[in-house]
């Protein structure tokens, strides 16, 4: 397995017409780190993630993943996971998981094998692989989305509010599954979220963006012990204190 890589975001700016979405963004994502991006709506957190994925060009500055400067979409280092899952409704779970490999021209046997392995990692082995997305619950659909991201074996996962449209109980299970996967796979993860609890529970550091234009407002270290999914971290006083600290920061930004 390839070693994780860092992402260096250097003085990045991006505007949409006259509206400045991002100004002078500088973030060093460490290799293997799980970094959360949070901020009030309109702070440009999703825009920044799309810039990292190469879907949106930056106006100034640059983004380097590992040793490659991002110039457009389709880079092999990073996979995106979408808030609305973005599954092909006409393709089965396995075909969806294969999609990234299909676009890269991998032979069918290799695709199927990689997709099955990825589906097993996210807990969807066996009978689910022939189901269409419409037959799966939201949580299972996002598992397929995650399997698609993992099947191409990227070094970086870029997750855009991946659990935002999933019910609370399922979300907690998926968060624990993500932590387990992350510790097994040693990937660098950048997670956009609007949930303070999610940011604190999952990440090593939380980057708080301020709105209009989006700037890096604060970087909060999260020194909670790991593996958090096994340690019942949510019930700890330290967890509550960190969530409150994040809330105090965000409150002043509203």
């Amino acid at each position: 397995m390839s070693a994780p890589v860092g992402i260096s975001i250097e003085r990045v700016a991006r505007s949409f017409g006259p509206v400045q979405a991002l100004v002078d963004i500088g973030i060093e994502v460490r290799a293997g780190e799980l970094l959360a991006l949070i901020g009030p709506s309109g702070c440009g957190k999703t825009t920044l993630l799309k810039c990292i994925a190469g879907l949106l060009p930056v106006d100034a500055g640059r983004i380097v993943i590992g040793s490659r400067t991002v110039t457009g979409p389709g880079g092999r280092e990073a996979s995106l996971v979408f808030q609305d899952f973005a599954l092909l409704p006409w393709a089965s779970a396995r075909e969806n998981a294969e999609f990234g490999l299909l676009l890269r021209g991998a032979p069918a046997a290799e695709r199927t094998q990689a997709a099955r392995r990825a589906l097993a990692k996210v807990g969807l082995a066996g009978s689910f692989e022939d189901a269409y997305p419409a037959q799966l619950s939201g949580g299972m659909q996002q598992r397929v989305g995650l399997a698609r991201a993992l099947a191409v074996n990227p070094q970086v996962l870029l997750m855009d509010e991946p659990f935002a449209s999933i019910d609370e109980q399922t979300r907690r299970i998926l968060q624990d599954d993500l932590l387990r996967l992350w510790s097994e796979e040693r990937k660098t993860v950048v997670l956009v979220t609007h949930s303070m609890e999610e940011a604190i529970y999952l990440s090593d550091r939380v980057v708080v963006l301020s709105p209009r234009p989006g700037r890096v407002h604060r970087v909060l270290e999260v020194p909670l012990p790991r593996p958090r999914e096994a340690l019942d971290v949510r019930a700890s006083g330290e967890f509550a204190r960190l969530v409150d600290e994040l809330w105090q920061i965000l409150k002043k930004l509203q």
Binding site: R76, F82, A86, L88, P89
Partner: protein, 258 residues
């Protein structure tokens, strides 16, 4: 109308006749038979008389001969209409400039009374069954273009973004996202197109009045052979129904994921 169509495409296609539908047809036949037996007018023959006339036309070969000619024109007009219609619709859905140039024309021609163009077609092609094929093409082409274009434009943005994020080329986007995404709308367009094509076939044949089932309609109408006239009308309905059912079977086979 376009929107009703889209909604229809999103529900699974139903078989044309459920139990209630069959009961309604049986009821209609009974009422028709009674009205016919009352001998109100020679223009209302009883259902059984029509059935006898239909059987007569079927066994003496008249019906098969004219239906064969009609079906030939239908295929010659409809298959190119479907092929070109889908191709043009895909391009118009994808390329904005092309859409802006052609959209007005397509909409105008879709709603225009196309029968008015048949004399022009006769001038162009002469009085032959080519005119019928051309009429079929004109009647079915535009609805297929518009539905295909609507389907492409309705493709979810997030799927396009996802495919681009995973490195899809422009060609891959077309084949892997836009085409399958538009497929239900395309097939709906084809189904509506088939119905239009049958209309075009009858209009073309009646106006040049030399070939196919349209010629029989005009002939039996002019010679007051009313049961035979009804028999041919019923046959035209059957052709339309059969064509639409065939397309629906294709829909069910191709769009299993809904």
């Amino acid at each position: 109308m376009k929107f009703d169509g889209m909604k229809f495409a999103l529900s699974a296609p139903e078989p044309p006749f459920g139990r209630a539908g069959l009961a309604a047809i049986a009821g209609l036949l009974v009422v028709w038979e009674i009205l016919g037996r009352l001998e109100l007018s020679i223009f209302i023959p009883s259902a059984s008389t029509v059935a006898v006339a239909w059987w007569g036309l079927l066994t003496d070969g008249t019906l098969l001969r004219s239906a064969g000619s009609s079906f030939g024109s239908l295929l010659k007009g409809f298959l190119p209409a479907a092929a070109f219609g889908i191709a043009l619709g895909l391009c118009m859905g994808r390329f904005r400039t092309l859409r802006e140039v052609l959209d007005g024309w397509i909409n105008a021609l879709m709603s225009a009374p196309l029968s008015a163009l048949v004399p022009v077609l006769i001038a162009l092609f002469g009085v032959r069954d080519t005119v019928v094929a051309a009429t079929v093409f004109l009647f079915s082409f535009f609805v297929i273009v518009v539905n295909t274009m609507t389907g492409v434009r309705g493709t979810e943005r997030s799927l396009v973004e996802m495919a681009r994020a995973y490195g899809a080329s422009e060609a891959a986007l077309f084949v892997r996202i836009y085409l399958p995404g538009a497929l239900p709308a395309i097939l709906l367009g084809v189904r509506l197109g088939v119905v239009q094509a049958v209309k075009g076939m009858v209009v073309g044949e009646m106006l040049i009045s030399l070939v196919g089932m349209g010629e029989r309609l005009v002939y039996y109408g002019n010679t007051f052979l009313i049961p035979e006239l009804y028999a041919v009308i019923v046959s035209v309905l059957l052709v339309a129904l059969l064509s639409a059912t065939l397309v629906q079977a294709c829909e069910r086979a191709l769009v299993r994921w809904k």
